[in-house]
Symmetry: D2
Subunit: 349 residues, 4 copies
Amino acid sequence: MNFCSDNVTGVAPEIMAALAAANAGAAMGYGNDDITRRVEKLVAELFETEVTVFPVATGTAANALALSVMAPSYGAIYCHEGAHINVDECGGPELFTGGAKLIDLPGANGKLDAALILDELAEGTQGNVHCAQPAAVSLTQATERGTVYKPDEIREISELAHKYKLKVHMDGTRFANAVAGLGCLPADLSWRAGVDVLSLGGTKNGAMAAEAIIFFDRSLAASFGYHRKRGGHLFSKMRFVSAQLEALLKDGLWLRHASHANRMARRLADGVARVPGAEILNPIEANLFFARMPEPVLTGLEADGFRFYREGGPQAIRLVAAFNTDPAQVDAFIASAVRHAAAIRSSAA
Amino acid sequence: MNFCSDNVTGVAPEIMAALAAANAGAAMGYGNDDITRRVEKLVAELFETEVTVFPVATGTAANALALSVMAPSYGAIYCHEGAHINVDECGGPELFTGGAKLIDLPGANGKLDAALILDELAEGTQGNVHCAQPAAVSLTQATERGTVYKPDEIREISELAHKYKLKVHMDGTRFANAVAGLGCLPADLSWRAGVDVLSLGGTKNGAMAAEAIIFFDRSLAASFGYHRKRGGHLFSKMRFVSAQLEALLKDGLWLRHASHANRMARRLADGVARVPGAEILNPIEANLFFARMPEPVLTGLEADGFRFYREGGPQAIRLVAAFNTDPAQVDAFIASAVRHAAAIRSSAA
Amino acid sequence: MNFCSDNVTGVAPEIMAALAAANAGAAMGYGNDDITRRVEKLVAELFETEVTVFPVATGTAANALALSVMAPSYGAIYCHEGAHINVDECGGPELFTGGAKLIDLPGANGKLDAALILDELAEGTQGNVHCAQPAAVSLTQATERGTVYKPDEIREISELAHKYKLKVHMDGTRFANAVAGLGCLPADLSWRAGVDVLSLGGTKNGAMAAEAIIFFDRSLAASFGYHRKRGGHLFSKMRFVSAQLEALLKDGLWLRHASHANRMARRLADGVARVPGAEILNPIEANLFFARMPEPVLTGLEADGFRFYREGGPQAIRLVAAFNTDPAQVDAFIASAVRHAAAIRSSAA
Amino acid sequence: MNFCSDNVTGVAPEIMAALAAANAGAAMGYGNDDITRRVEKLVAELFETEVTVFPVATGTAANALALSVMAPSYGAIYCHEGAHINVDECGGPELFTGGAKLIDLPGANGKLDAALILDELAEGTQGNVHCAQPAAVSLTQATERGTVYKPDEIREISELAHKYKLKVHMDGTRFANAVAGLGCLPADLSWRAGVDVLSLGGTKNGAMAAEAIIFFDRSLAASFGYHRKRGGHLFSKMRFVSAQLEALLKDGLWLRHASHANRMARRLADGVARVPGAEILNPIEANLFFARMPEPVLTGLEADGFRFYREGGPQAIRLVAAFNTDPAQVDAFIASAVRHAAAIRSSAA
């Protein structure tokens, strides 16, 4: 009954099976193995284009390492003020870029606003030796607020970025949830909309520890291997990272997982909406959302053993559904909330 | 029939079982789980002292992150010229320390020579503002040449280091093999001999991807968590890294693995010694060694499907045994070598 | 007739004389000379406390190097969104700290608001491993808007900072102008109000290239020399940097310069206020201010050969007076503006 | 009577005059001034080719900043083990490159040996993801031992470097002394011999604080301005750095200074050679050399007030002549040495 995050869950049985299968015999290390090669092919098929793919094991590595080849040490990276790279990676992008500057911008529902990016770019910092040089935009899909960018929204930002010679990064730790939520093709939410590099999440989608950095702009990949190695993110027994990605991406497991998580978030939200005094704070577009509930309801839920983060203001909480969230747990959560809300009323009466 | 490295092997069944067991239910992320807590306790018992322990997933991370809190950006770290941190981490220590300098020193059989360290220290760079400031010594145990430091040898270096206010790091990617080889207590090869921080390897000893950074000097651990996080090495589903360490360290699996690997290396070496024209290049003290064999023997072995790295000079190769090396494979290797050596003689006759 | 900045001016004759005087005979390099030693004593007397002083040659070096010992690589530094360190140093603080994060905050008239800092600190990032760790606050005195912090305003921020274990840095590139503007003692605007490290400007106050980093918290100075050296900011012929500081600081030259510049800014502002259609955008508290004037007036001034930066919005400009600004130039500027403003009216009539 | 270094001297009167002349009127800051533009033209004429030039104020900045655009963070830079960048810049190149690795090589008389570089390059680290990537070679001209590379020696190294796609940097802090010593054209010792970037020294040749980074490979200069700015090395009153370079480079002052210093070193060496028991340790090719003298002679010289560094082994010292070394001082030094040497003999007799 833990709705804190989609990383408190365990690992999907299909992934565990793939790890066991990968454990047959010896294999050369550091990615020189068959599974890793198959993953790149699989990603190319799924995204309908040629790509260069690097598996890594954590989301922070996937983001910070991608940015390490997208912005120079004197560069600036535009992102939403609530972006994971800005507030949850303890300066990871700064470390791996050698000191690039994140320029964080406000934006409703966790989404970057092309107009604000344009304002920044129009300020004339490019070519001004006193200023960190605008080098990249990083979008989070789905966002930290559980919302998603539609293809046109991505394209608007990408076109602006490319016009000013900026590269476009997508933090896709919940990319699967966005694809499932929009019913789009993966290509439509990435390179066709102008994304140059995608950090595709696996860990929050049922893997143990597996992410893929996907270069659509393959020229950016030239020096990536060195950055990954010196960052300590080149696994000797790489096949076990790759096996997780393979299991997720073939046969559509990644989308089934994401769809389930999205449905559970919707079920949770529908339930919360019926709790007297509760308020949903964001559109429900992926597998997480923020809500506000009366303090006694929150306290009651906690007392009943439900776990969630209090975040986003007074009496606000974040609720996250995962690939294996049990509908019965969702219903139990709602029942508990409704009961505690009713108790307020009766005590007030 | 792959003797390239102890990381081309798969994962021990006990480790796979531990991963499966760890996959029960939800657990808070980022190390706030029971397994991770148990690992710290287990390490403390094994090393007979209080410690602070941080699990990570790769050897480069284990070394470079340990050094990140042992040397400032303007610091210097003494190491052997063949040390992994010096030649095989693509500048990882430089990245995580913010630019510290590795001062690499020669030394027979892959071992640092206290006299050479003293020469360096006596040069008066400490306190000289023009010079990178000597901050740490890093020893590799077992070394890259498959040899081991005895407790007294470690102590000699540690005492010298501490006299000059340097910290002592041990790259223990094959620490288990050294413990097994010497028949020492883990404490005798680490903190009792003056080691401040040990990067204890698991991956090469049968794990999938698990290492432990062990702080005996716990004051050095204060800021470590931030370095690990920004380096992208804080795993959200940490319990699966910790579960590997727990499986290895409890009930002595780590030492059984290492002892087996050492025995297989000894068996290989004894066999190689009998190959006409072959020469063993290092003392056999752990699970790897270097040897020289006539070129037709090497070519013949390769043609027979045996894999190994050519390294260390003309006709020199490195042979590495692992936790699961099959004695039959060892014997097949030797038989092949003997056969090819005989062919040389007969063709010469 | 250049009001762009207080660094477009030349060098004061007293400074040139001091350079000539310093050029007598040989002197040991790198600060081991008598003049450098005298500067530290002079600063101590002027600030009425023991200090450790390091001369450097540029304002960016003075700021970024000071911060290099005030925030770790995983640290966060609070500053005003318009602070020089945030927008005009091309990532200098990020370089010298090894990737620390500047958290930029809004604030009227270029001044940090203690309440907003408190909001940030109350968010609970300290000790949270996912977040850059709040380490320092940097104040600019006088600010980039030409305003000044009063001692009580500094103290309010310092007390808050120290309560949370943050260090307080002051970018004092125009500290002299603040002292002159407020009529305070240097100590009252620095250590007595809680400032730990002051980057004291000389270049904008009549020197050729000389700034002093003054450590009131002398424990922070321990490793500073190494950072300065590796940053390339340790001058071999240091006496010539120090001689500039000595000439400025002894006999009150620095305050006479600053007072003159402030008076000229006031004279300019009084004049601008009389220009029909003009508006002063900030309180006049030091030697620079922003103003808005009708476009034809700005164009007319430019055509008449007056130089200034257009900055701060449509029809807004920045006007800066310097140690050697000629009152006749100020009057000529005003006369030109008045004339062009009158031309608008007559053409409109 | 100070032979410690060519930076203990003061500033040449022509340079002081140029500073005074540069102090007329206002000039735009940060290099947007006429003098800085003239310096670039002057360098182009002197070196007979198009160049991009950036003035800076210290030798460490000139070297480390040049390297910042010649090697990536994961790069390796070959240099002599005694090179200033390796032992005297406290990790400056590591800072500005973001952690590149200096691979230091031995070599007689302070000179790199092409054969040893080739050995390194032939090891196959290029393209090997585990290894820092060979990116540049840095030569010191004249060397730290006071010797010089002839054009053919430079060319041999450059051709090797370029064959492997490495860039060639020259630390020319004493480039003028090499040009004077060899009687070559500046072009013959730089771009015609394959040098891509030259850090040309001025400070040790009579300037106050002025060096020029000269890009013969102008493509490398594209991002240089940002590195210089964030390093704090973009001077606001740049004209005063440039004026020093202009004064040195026009009318051949730089070569007259260097020739004088070389002559004085030769005079010193000739004298030392006549001191009984003394030994010159290097060829005399520029303005400094190492010598060994009996301990009583050294002590006697020190007692007589002569200053020099004891460096390079027991009873070894470094002697450096400068642009303004007085022949009478040289003769006094020799007379003192001869007197103390005679005293030994008589006391031994």
